[in-house]
């Protein structure tokens, strides 16, 4: 069991990394990230891709945390503070009463990551996704539909920012990902590993519903508004989602969910034909 360390003073240096988390959300923490709430903490203590560094909890919540505390090593301190002290540390009313610092331990290179995936896994390639809500939503959908890995180009925001982790419901701590160097030819990388590139665009050549899933796909999504570059679209199968005339506007995370559901459902249907139940 971990040690419970009472914190009486918001200025205690032992909880410095938790201080004013809203303001510091964008400045980074030497490779650490902040996780909030029970669902996300549960992923943090179970995922093989990250490790908890410490917890900071409202002392009245301690009795409800046995399942999480049981999974912590003895060396992980659990700081416990009264709610007003906790609020003063965080810089806002922290109703959930549960914070943790974590460190990502699984930081693969893209090449090694793709090489290690099962033969039928799909991947997501995200380009210039700068909004943390969208990043979190995309990871959530990637986890829900069993995507093998997420590749982020150099213009994406960090999926381990507090808000992205929260919106992902912990998926950002669970789905393997790699950040691509700026000068890499991402399509050549995908091709080397046998991923068929499906690039989403409102002007895509093929409607999603008509798309027969390739053996393994790389679903490529760009930022809402600018979208993907014409140079990239020209080298891929460009895919569109037909929408109502006059309102052709889908959120990028929703788009990802629709595409991943289509691929999963179409593969299931194909497998059912190839291997009918006896």
């Amino acid at each position: 069991m971990p040690q419970i360390v009472p914190i009486l003073d918001p200025a205690d240096p032992r909880i410095a990394d938790y201080r004013d988390i809203r303001e510091r959300d964008l400045v980074g923490r030497r490779g650490l990230f902040v996780a909030e709430g029970r669902v996300v903490l549960n992923v943090l203590v179970t995922s093989p891709r990250c490790t908890p560094v410490s917890l900071l909890v409202a002392e009245h919540r301690l009795p409800t945390l046995d399942d999480i505390l049981d999974r912590l090593g003895d060396a992980v301190p659990v700081y416990a503070a009264a709610q007003p002290v906790l609020d003063a540390i965080a810089g806002f009313p922290l109703h959930r009463g549960l914070l943790a610092l974590g460190r990502r331990t699984d930081t693969p290179e893209a090449d090694a990551l793709l090489a290690g995936l099962p033969a039928d896994d799909d991947v997501l390639l995200l380009s210039a996704i700068a909004n943390h809500d969208n990043m979190g939503g995309l990871f959530r959908n990637a986890a829900a539909f069993g995507v093998g890995a997420v590749l982020l180009d150099a213009d994406c925001c960090d999926p381990l920012y507090r808000k992205a982790i929260r919106v992902s419901v912990g998926a950002a701590l669970r789905v393997p990902y790699a950040v691509l160097p700026r000068d890499i030819d991402a399509l050549a990388l995908l091709e080397r590993h046998g991923f068929a590139p499906l690039a989403l665009s409102p002007a895509g050549a093929q409607e999603l519903a008509d798309l027969a899933p390739p053996p393994r796909a790389a679903v490529i999504l760009g930022a809402e508004g600018p979208g993907l570059s014409p140079a990239l679209l020209a080298r891929t199968t460009s895919v569109r989602i037909d929408m109502e005339a006059g309102f052709d506007s889908l959120n990028v995370a929703t788009t990802g969910g629709i595409v991943l559901h289509h691929l999963a459902a179409a593969r299931r249907a194909r497998n059912a034909i190839a291997h009918p139940a006896l």
Copy 2:
């Protein structure tokens, strides 16, 4: 052309309804709503379901607003303020520099709304959606896939809150909707108008991909977490979306997008078989 009214003092009573919009977001404004940004303002001035009451803009943006101003009646005042005055009025840095007050003019009863829809329109029925991001996302998806109307039960939040409108990219001002009285039997109402109820649930009896779309569907979505009541599910076709074991968690707006895309695509495929191109 509307009159341009310079505003020099953040305390000017003429712009009282714009003051501290963040704090007042949840208190209502006597039937008025706040719209932000060019895309949403464009819907506000073109949608037949609402009308602009006034605009408040950063004076340096005035020269870029001809397309919007041209659509305003002479009686709609356009208040123009220097950026610092605008920020002081709004209560935070208003980078977009574009606000409007609007009033919804189309407030149908659910019965009349459903009676007036085209024979092949689907509808959404939302139950206890209390999160404004999700509400906005659901309206955005409803507009993108041409849903005829949205019905809200008495436990839903208001789609005309500032943030819901913004997240909807204006769809909340465009898609017809009605709020149901608390004691109404919503399923009986839908049945009277010939809508087949499809209730989404992680434990749904039928997988979405196998669902043949009914002539007109009512897609029913509940809040993440509690979901729809067993009593309601027992009276409907319950539909699930298969997900990865250990992470069966989709955002409710994303779920709506996936379902609406499936219905639209399956209908298109059926129509292509019934009426093949010559």
